[in-house]
């Protein structure tokens, strides 16, 4: 699958943030900003808008994707979507929090995000729950390969070995 180039993606971000008139409702509605004012959703996209590059701070990963900003923006700027775009740009450069890498690895090998522990399996039997049909992990592998997830996992590992 062809990947959108960074320039395309940044253009898209700049275009979709265009209507913003900096009223600050997004920040006022953001639960993360409320407890950690270092993360201001509007400022997190500001740099991309001004400079056309993704800031190195990695603050975009603090977004909880609660969609409050997007729901309340009077100009219908989808900030939460923009933050997803920014995170994709970072991920493409190998800049990803380790917890997300772990999650992607578990999905890659099991199709699910949480291992069913022995205790849960036992619990399911005790509760009389059916054994759920398991997804074919080869299908997940194919999707990972063809949609760029494997590349990104590799790039993260390279970035880890050679920190800047």
């Amino acid at each position: 699958m062809e990947r959108t180039t960074d320039a395309d993606r940044i253009n898209e971000i700049q275009h979709s943030a265009q209507p913003c008139f900096q009223c600050g409702i997004c920040a006022a509605s953001c639960p993360i900003f409320r407890v950690a004012p270092d993360f201001n959703p509007r400022m997190a996209v500001d740099e991309v808008l001004r400079t056309g590059t993704v800031a190195m701070t990695g603050r975009e990963w603090f977004c909880a994707y609660c969609l409050m900003c997007e729901e309340r923006c009077p100009m219908e700027v989808a900030l939460s979507e923009i933050l997803i775009d920014i995170k994709n740009l970072s991920a493409n450069d190998g800049k990803v929090p380790p917890s997300i890498i772990e999650m992607m690895d578990v999905i890659r090998f099991t199709g699910k995000v949480s291992h069913a522990s022995k205790r849960t399996e036992k619990k399911r039997r005790e509760l009389g729950l059916p054994e759920l049909p398991k997804p074919d992990v080869d299908e997940v592998q194919t999707i990972f390969e063809m949609t760029g997830a494997l590349d990104r996992l590799m790039r993260f590992r390279e970035a880890e070995v050679e920190p800047e």
Binding site: M1, P97, I100, I107, R152
Partner: protein, 301 residues
């Protein structure tokens, strides 16, 4: 009514008693459930942030499975509901994305056509079954003061999910009233529980939970009712972390809606599903406070 149940990883692998409560109430409302080899929905924040193409294609694979089986999907987790609904929205509104995704799906012998619907169990109960029918099934009204937490990913974006009013949701309130509870309004009802950043920064995640629970506790509730397993873990097990981290003394029982519905209906076996809770109901709807066993399956990660 026939659905493919999409319990989601959190329910099936960590909170199976919630899945049990769904399977217990379903036949009483003529809901027939089938199981399909679904993968993770995938998780709507981290996976999509890591690779949105992977997210979209895995979502499309899940949707295609239900399509093939000729049934709609009933999700039990707000995250799965949002993720699958957003995938569907992207695929249905952007033909070029759908074409790209179908090229990948073809390799694994699947195709997304766009015929399947994604529902959350709250919609099935509220819209398809209705408050009156639920009331008719209640044997033992549970008369407690409840705060409800609708959850970000059932509410927003409202124009796509269309489950309830994103700023003033009322439907889960009506559902808890139907089983005899009083639903208390509180300030930060539509606020996030903080789960989305638990893996990134615990201080911030539990700081958000503290803000949320402070707001809940202001109206002096006896229980909290949620319709999402991730929110369930945030409140149920997360409150202990908040207590330690911020010197709080929360002790609020938390229920996934169909658990207390099953209790109010007096269904056999309800004791076994509630035995994982820190504060328990008897089948007669009486709260029996118990000591606090550590809940291995439900520690917030």
């Amino acid at each position: 009514m026939r659905f493919a149940l999409f319990p989601g990883c959190t329910i099936s692998d960590r909170l199976p008693f919630i899945e049990k409560s769904i399977r217990m109430i379903a036949p009483h409302f003529n809901i027939e459930l089938i199981d399909l080899p679904f993968t993770c929905c995938p998780e709507p924040n981290s996976v999509r942030s890591f690779s949105d193409k992977t997210w979209l294609t895995m979502g499309a694979r899940n949707l295609a499975l239900a399509e093939e089986a000729g049934v709609n999907i009933m999700t039990a987790c707000a995250g799965c509901f949002e993720s699958l609904s957003m995938s569907k929205h992207v695929l249905d509104s952007k033909p070029s994305e759908k074409e790209e995704v179908n090229k990948v799906l073809k390799k694994i012998g699947k195709e997304y056509k766009g015929q399947v619907e994604v529902r959350h169990i709250q919609q099935v109960l509220y819209e398809d079954i209705g408050i009156e029918e639920i009331q008719r099934n209640v044997q033992y009204p549970i008369n407690y003061r409840a705060v409800i937490h609708p959850g970000c990913h059932t509410l927003r974006p409202q124009k796509i999910l269309n489950l309830d009013d994103a700023e003033a949701p009322m439907k889960l309130d009506e559902l808890v009233r139907a089983i005899g509870m009083e639903s208390l309004d509180y300030m930060d009802k539509v606020m996030c529980c903080g789960a989305g950043v638990r893996g990134i920064n615990r201080e911030i995640a539990f700081g958000v939970l503290r803000e949320k629970m402070d707001s809940m506790m202001m109206v002096d509730p006896e229980v909290a009712v949620v319709f999402c397993p991730t929110c369930f873990i945030s409140f149920e097990a997360g409150q202990k972390v908040v207590n330690r981290m911020f010197d709080k003394k929360y002790n609020l029982p938390v229920y996934y809606y169909t658990e207390i519905l099953a209790a109010a209906m007096g269904l056999e076996g309800v004791e076994s599903i509630l035995s994982e809770h820190r504060v328990k109901f008897s089948a007669l709807g009486m709260l029996v406070a118990k000591n606090e066993p550590e809940i291995e399956n439900a520690t917030p990660h």
